[in-house]
Structures are given as C-alpha cells and as structure tokens.
Symmetry: C2
Subunit: 563 residues, 2 copies
C-alpha cells in the first residue's frame, strides 16, 4: 500500500499544499490558496469604518490561513485521487517571525467582535518593520546588561523578531497586551488549529525568540528591564515546553478533518519555518553544503557540528534545522525584489515592447540580453542594499549604490550589475562563515530564481567559486513540510524514522550543475575586491552618506506630513 | 532707415540663421537647416563602397555648412521681407574645436575625388574623441619640457583640441597630412567661404590651439618633440595672423551673395565660438557675472580683468570672449545629455504612457513629478559623471554614480538626483573659480534647459546660492553672432562701435529671476558636502574603482572584438 504525506507551505501572499509519495517524494498534486486579505499594509480590512496603518506596518488575517486548510488541502486530495486513509501525516512550514495574540483557547484577538478595529490585535507578518524602536532598545539593554545570547545572533537582533513585536503591542496597545492570553508564532498557531493542542517548536523559539537549549529564554530580569509589565512574558503568554522538529504535535481534530478532508487522528508534525524545512528537502543533511532559498529575498542555511559565533549573521540554533547539528542562518534582504524593482521602475518602454512582440517575460528578455555581456563589459558595479543589509552588516539604513554609468550604459548592463551585486553579497556571507570556522564547500539553491535563471546561477558560481546544485523540487519548502509529516507519522505508519532518512528517500537534485568558469572567476575576483572595498567604505562607518541621506529623507517626509 | 544683421549659429546637428534688428536685437525671422549627413560616427556617407569608423570618431561633411548659407539665410530674408540692402552684416558662431584639412584655396580634402574614402580628410567634429593618445602625449611632453602655457588650461589639454586632432591626422594618415595645405577651424573656414579670404580668429586660437597674445603659439621645438614632421605645423598649415572678435573679416563674395541672397560686399565678421558669442548676447560685458550655456553639455564663461591660473578649468584667453578682459571657460560634459540618457534608458513604460495620455513631453512629466519632492526627500545623491568630468577633475575616465536607492525609489527621484548632481557640479566650478580669485556674484543662463525648466533653474539657484537670470533671447548664440556682425559693419553703416555697446542695445534678460530659497539652501549645503566628499574620494585617486571598471570594460570589449 502506498503512503502519502501532505505538506502545507504558508508564504507571504498565499498558502500552498502538496500531496507527495512518502517513498520517493514525487508530487501527486499541488494547489495554491491566495490569502483574501493578502498583506495588510495600508488599512485594516473592515466591513465598516476605516483604520489606516502607519508606515512599515504589515499585518495578516488568520482566517486566510484556515482557508488554506479548507481549500488547498481538499483540492490536492481531489486532484490526486488519493484515499485519505493513505495519508499518514500533515506538516506545515511558515514565514517567521509571523506572530499573533490570542485568547487562552487560541481565538485570535482580531476575531473578537470588539477588537477588529485594533491593529495590534491582528497577525504581525514577518515584514512588519514598525517595531524598530523596540528592537533598538532590546539590543541596547542586552548590551548594557551583558546578555550572552546576543552573540548567537551576530550581535544584533532584528525588528522582525518575536520580542520586538510583542513589546510593541505592550507599549502601543497595553489593553491588547493585557487581553492576550497567548502570544504565538503563526506556525505554531496553525498546528494548534489542526490538533486542538498548543505545541510550540524549537526552531522559531531559537531563531526568533532568543531561546537556546542550554540557557532557555533570556532571564526575567532582562525582560523586566525592557518594561516592568514585560517581565513575565514567557511564563504568562508563551511556553517553555518546546517540541522538536519532526515530532508529532498531535492528531488531526474532528474540526480540522472536516476542513481538510483528511481523517481525524492523522499525524500532525510540529511546525517549522519555510526556509529551514527546505534544507533536508534540498538533500542537505550534513555540514559543508549551504542551502540558499532564492526568492524575493535569499535565506542561507548551513549545518555545523559545533557552536561558533559568526559576526553579523542572523543566528544559529542547536537542532534548529536538523537534529544533531547547529543550524546557521544568514540572509540577503533583497534579491528577486531587487530585480523586480528594476523591472518596475527602470526598464524602458522599448524593452517592454520587445518582450511583448517576442512573447517573452521581461526578466527573460533582460537576462537574455545580459547573458551576452562578457564579465566586466558593463563597466558597472553595484552594492545590493536596495533593502538594507541583513548580513553581515545587519544595517537596515544602508542603501543601494551603482557606480560606473556612462551615456553608453544600457538597461541590461544595469540589470546584470544588480544580479552580480547580489552574488557578491552571497560571497561576503560565505567568506564570513568560513572565516569563523563554518566551511561552505558547495551550494544547493532552491526557489524560483534558482530554477528559472541559468544565467543568474552561472554568475553566482563564477562569483563565489562554488559549484551550485539545484533542488529537484520546484516546491522545496512544501516538500520539506511533507517530509517532516512523514517523520511525525513514523515508520510504523509507513513514514520515516528520521528526517535524514526522509531526505534520502524523498529529496533529489536536478541534473544541471553550475560550476565556476576560471576566466570569469579571474575577472570577478577583481570586481569582488572593488565590491568589498565599497562595502566596507559605505557599510562600516568610514563614509556615512547613506545614513545621512536617510535622515534627510525622513526629515523631508515628516515636514511634508506636518504641513 | 532700419538696419539689420544676420547671425548664423552652426551647431552639432544643424545650422540656424536669425535676422535681427540692430537697434534693439528683436528677431524678425529665424530658420534652421539640418545637416544632411549630421554627425558621422559609424560609416562615411559615400555613394559607393563602405568605410566604417572606429569607436570615438565623430566627423562632419563641410557641404552641410554651405547648405546652411544656401537655405536658412535666404529663408530669413524671405520670411522677414527685409530688403538685403538693409542688412549691414553677417556673423557666424561655430562649435569648437571643429576642424578640417583643406587645399591652399580652401577646398576641403574630403571634397577631392580621390580622398572621399579617407576618414581623416573629413571635418573632425568637436566631439571626435579618437585623438586621446595624441592628447596624452601633448600633455606629457608639455610637462616634460616645462611648457608655461599648460597652466592656462588648468594643467591638461583635451583630446578635442586642435593639435591633438591635427597630430592624429599626421600619425594615422601621413598622406592626408602632407596633402593638407591648411588645417583650419570650421568657424574660420565658413568665413573664408563667405569672403574668399582666410581670416582666423583669436578666440579658437586661444582656447583650442594654445595661442596667447603674449607668447603666441608654442615653440617649434615643442612641436618637433611631438613628431619631427609636426615641427612647422603653425607656419606651413596654419597662420600667425589672427583677427580680433568683432573685426570685419571681409566683404561677402559674389559667390556667397548668390548663396545667401545678401548683397556682395556685406560686412562679414571674424568667426566666433557658439558659447563665447553668447556672453554679450546674454547682456554680460563685465566681470562677476557668469554665463552658462545649458544644453546637452554646459559651458561656463566669466570675465576677469586679470590673469589667474585656475586648476582644472578649460582655459582662459586674453580678449578671448570680450576685448579688454581675460575670458575664463569651464565645462560640464553631460547635462541635457544626462537627462536624455535617463529618459531613453531608464524611464519606465507607465511614465511614457502617462505622458502620452496627458499630451506632455516626457521631460515635462518627470520634472512635474520631481518638482513635488522636497529637498532631500529622494534620499539619493549622484555624481554627474556619465560623460566624464571636464572641470575641475579633467578626467574622461571617471563615471556616473548613484547612491541611496531603495525598493521605494521611484523614477522622478532618480531624475531629480541627476539634475541636482549637475547643479553640484556647477557649484564645484563656481567655488574653484572663486578660490582662485575669479568672483562669481550671479549667473545668466541661456539655452534650452534654462529657458524651459523653471524647476531645474530653481534647483541650481538653491544649490549654488546664486541668483539665476535667463537670457532674453531663445537663440542666444545666433543673436550674439548677429551682434558681432553689427560691430563688424561699424557705426558708419548703422551698426555699433563696440560689442559692449551692441550688447547694451541688443541683448536683454527675461523678467523671471531665480533666487535661492534659504530652507532649500540649508539642506543642499549638507548634500553638497556629501557630494564633494564622494567627488574627491572617487575623483582624486583615493578609490580608483571607476578607472578599474573602465579598464575591465575595455578588456572585455577587446576580447570580444578579437574573438
């Protein structure tokens, strides 16, 4: 008898379900459920009244997540024709830190009639950036009180993380904070909705909530120093009971079985993070091979047997990606977003027309033209900081730079320079890892850019001097979620005993491999040297023009708002 | 009886004639004659055979100049209805250094049947940049042999100038050089065609051929050091008889009278340069007020009673703009060209569509959007070196830079940053002049950008802290040429005794004046400080990345060509 698992990947704009064969990972069906309310960043989606959101806010509607279970999962069952009795488990992965306040029974506060018009009652999406003030103080107080955990996160935590968002609720909406019996990652919340039981995962706790296996959460005294009413946030609104990746969180409840069409009692895996779940799904279960998830932004993950503080990285967590290893994470904040910006704001009409006439996607057209350029031929060099720098500078205030433009510069040269800049950014991350004792021998890339752009992948290989493999699945995170479901179901149910064995059985690489071309490498080494020099000059305080420009921009906008 | 003068302005793409009233400068008619062969930069315009031109070449066809006399001048006579007997003089201004080789009777070598397929036989346009090797050696040998004249040109002469172009002919086409009885500025050549007599002007000799009233041309020994066959270039192919601006070069020949419809014997003024002739035409006849001709590039001119070497400027010439003063010149190599590049290569389709729907020019649309931004709001800063830097770095190898881009950056912000960058470039020139004892109290701007773009002029006023006036004529150079014609005709014929008096009678300013807005100045002072820091960092050798990028670009292109 065949055995299947369902993986559900909760992204920024939609949720995706896949139904896969547990034996070999082949995908029998997949379905997407776009979030009706998408990213809520200008006004709350209210039936009556209007509540505008300040800049940098990004919320979501938890009902949209439930609808993924109600529509996408039944659809994969239907289109695959698989008998629900043959589905041994369900796993999910989610963006992180995406979090929400709920009542004790898990009802989102924004679902309570009296609280719908309160922005702080909604889900705060990972890219909600309005808690920067809280993050700054979290870092400041941590340094002042000598918190050892700060080193695990490269010396600075982000405004995107759990306690920054929680503290923002407390400070800006104390009544919401008081009403919140639970503050929880959306990843754990959807698993709770499936099983009826609150089971929190170690991964988001480690990467987003400063928890470690050795030290647990930061001490009460630290939280008290942030705000007196924040002292007991962990014990009153969170939990110290954390569950391992691949563990069974529970069985599917009657209610969730009705939503999904799966059988009650089906194993539900402990929640996981979209990027992290992709590591074993991209075949990687050992140190030395970095996984890059390349989409609008890029997430870099690598396993290491030991614990090394790496300056400027997002963090590392014991067993945070795969049991038995420290999982290291880094990130580039704009990659696909970078190229999308160029296409939207700087691609001339003639190129659009040509793409239409040739029936091509505009990115394909630009990449085709850019691929014809020799290395160095554009005469351009860029710093890929259009959305700040997440690693290794960890500075949201730096910004994009382009140098070398002439009257003869054409769009595909700029486009290529932006691609190359993101590759230089990756090389900086690789070299920083290696300098701190985390070797990166080669790379597996996944995500849309990796699958669809041979030209981009060859540039990455040439710039980094590493061989690039491509994940065999075009739905790597959803496959990863299904793999963890198979582990949660366990071998007795026809699943796998460990994620390593699940990976061996279910994950593949594509045949195409990108190896560095020596002549290109030689020129890129020169260009990378120039990149590093500009990176350090503008990024490490020698010339603070980027910060000055941001300050003037803010001042100009405040003045306009004030008028 | 009314008296009229005709001015003919020879530009890069066309020639323009105006017929003006000598009493008050009012324009009765104007007409344009586009050059049939325009700028010849890819292949010679031959009836048979094909001769490709190398990169950086820019030639013209001297027949196109004659056709301006044959079409535009008759047209202004016809449309104005003025009696040719009432036209007392003709004056011309020209781009410079634009030069050609001719026979002893003035026949262009490219007009000789056997030489049409020889590129070096044609007119070398001002922007012919293929004599960089010769210019480098001219500078090198001048420094090595301690030539005092080098200081007059800011320490370096350009590949655009007369001896660089002449030496290129000698070295690359010695037969053409040998056949050339005369090497002559096109400005002087067209006057020769009008009068039948070779009369060379002091202005181009001073600004483009290293001549000075005190020292004449560089010594024979210097030319011999450049090339043995170049030793006698001045005495065999040029002339030491030079004529003052406003002097009568001769009377119109029968042949030229037939071309133009004017009477034989009509006074023809000594030739002049387009930018320089615009100074009195913009009302400026005294020190302290700079004239800026703002078009594809910008030329800056200012008068001074004394002689001061100003590092990095284009040069100064005694009586080179107005008799009685040293005329100082500086330049920015890309201004309108800069904005045109942005419109062609980086303006998205949506903006083009909006411009069409609103029936607007795309520049007007962009300027309208950019005008709504507060100073500093774009968060961007640029170095305006898309076409190198002509003053004060005098370095064609530097290139454009943009810093501060984010995913929220929109096209009008970049467009505005490019405009601001050219304004910072002007401020650098102003401050350099002032630091060397040439005061700039306020400014008169002329040219298309100055006339049509209040938003640009206000930015220039705010950035430089100077009041900007606008020349009253929309054909300032052609009006200037007509003013010099009135002086060449002299008071007895109803003209003017001096150019100063002609300027007082015939030149005007517009009523609109741009004065600096203090709040804008305060922010621009901060931004200008950042500009200067980047200017010096990238322009003065601290970081040579721009040069490295150019080197890699050339290497990549040579490799491609070599394949």
């Amino acid at each position: 008898m065949r055995r299947y698992a369902v993986g559900v990947d909760f992204g920024t704009e939609s949720g995706r379900a896949v139904l896969v064969d547990v034996r070999d990972g082949s995908v029998l069906a997949n379905a997407v459920s776009p979030y009706a309310n998408g990213v809520i960043d200008s006004a709350l989606p209210l039936q009556e009244g209007r509540v505008e959101l300040p800049p940098d806010w990004a919320l979501q509607d938890p009902d949209d997540y439930i609808r993924v279970f109600q529509t996408a999962v039944p659809e994969v069952l239907r289109t695959s024709g698989v008998d629900p009795a043959e589905v041994i488990g369900v796993g999910i992965d989610f963006t992180a830190c995406t979090m929400l306040p709920t009542t004790a029974d898990g009802t989102p506060l924004c679902a309570l009639p009296g609280m719908r018009a309160e922005p702080h009652a909604w889900v705060k999406l990972w890219k909600h950036h309005a808690a920067q003030g809280q993050a700054d103080r979290i870092n400041e107080v941590a340094r002042a009180t000598g918190q050892a955990w700060l080193d695990r996160y490269g010396g600075r935590i982000s405004s995107e993380w759990f306690f920054a968002k929680s503290l923002q609720i407390l400070e800006e909406a104390p009544a919401v904070y008081a009403r919140a019996d639970r503050l929880i990652e959306a990843a754990d919340w959807v698993v709770w909705q499936l099983t009826g039981e609150e089971r929190r995962n170690v991964c988001t706790a480690g990467y987003k909530a400063m928890w470690s296996r050795e030290d647990g959460f930061p001490p009460r005294s630290y939280f008290a120093a942030l705000h007196p009413d924040f002292a007991d946030v962990v014990d009153t609104k969170m939990s110290r009971d954390l569950y391992e990746l691949g563990q069974r969180a529970g069985g599917l409840s009657e209610r969730a079985a009705a939503w999904t069409g799966l059988l009650p009692g089906t194993a539900v895996a402990v929640a996981n993070v979209d990027a992290h779940v992709a590591v074993p799904a991209a075949t990687v279960t050992e140190p030395g091979r970095m996984v890059m998830i390349m989409g609008t932004s890029t997430c870099h993950m690598v396993l290491s047997p030991g614990e090394q503080a790496v300056a400027g990285m997002c963090g590392y967590v014991q067993d945070g990606i795969l049991p038995g290893f420290f999982g290291y994470e880094a990130g580039q904040s704009a990659v696909g977003d970078h190229f999308a910006w160029f296409v939207e704001h700087a691609t001339p009409e003639a190129y659009r027309q040509e793409a239409r006439e040739r029936g091509m996607d505009i990115h394909a057209l630009l990449q085709g033209k850019a691929a014809k350029l020799a290395v160095g031929e554009s005469g351009l060099l860029a710093l890929d900081w259009w959305n700040g720098n997440r690693s290794v500078l960890v500075d949201a205030a730096v910004s994009g730079l382009l140098v070398g433009a002439t009257l003869a510069t054409v769009p595909e040269e700029i486009y290529r320079a932006l691609i190359e800049a993101t590759a230089y950014g990756t090389r900086v991350i690789i070299e920083t890892f290696e300098a701190h004792g985390v070797p990166i021998l080669d790379i597996v890339a996944a995500g849309g850019l990796a699958e669809k752009s041979p030209m981009i992948m060859q540039i990455y290989a040439d710039v980094t001097g590493r061989t690039f493999h491509i994940s065999g699945s075009d739905q790597t995170p959803a496959l990863g979620a299904a793999m963890f479901a198979a582990v949660a179901a366990g071998p007795d149910a026809g699943g796998h005993p460990t994620i390593v064995e699940a990976s061996r059985a279910m994950a593949t690489l594509r045949d195409d491999v990108y190896t560095p071309i020596p002549e290109n490498q030689a020129t890129y080494d020169v260009l990378y040297g120039e990149y590093v020099r500009l990176h350090d000059y503008f990024g490490r305080g020698e010339n603070d023009v980027m910060r000055t420009l941001r300050r003037l921009r803010s001042a100009a906008r405040q003045q306009i708002t004030g008028d």
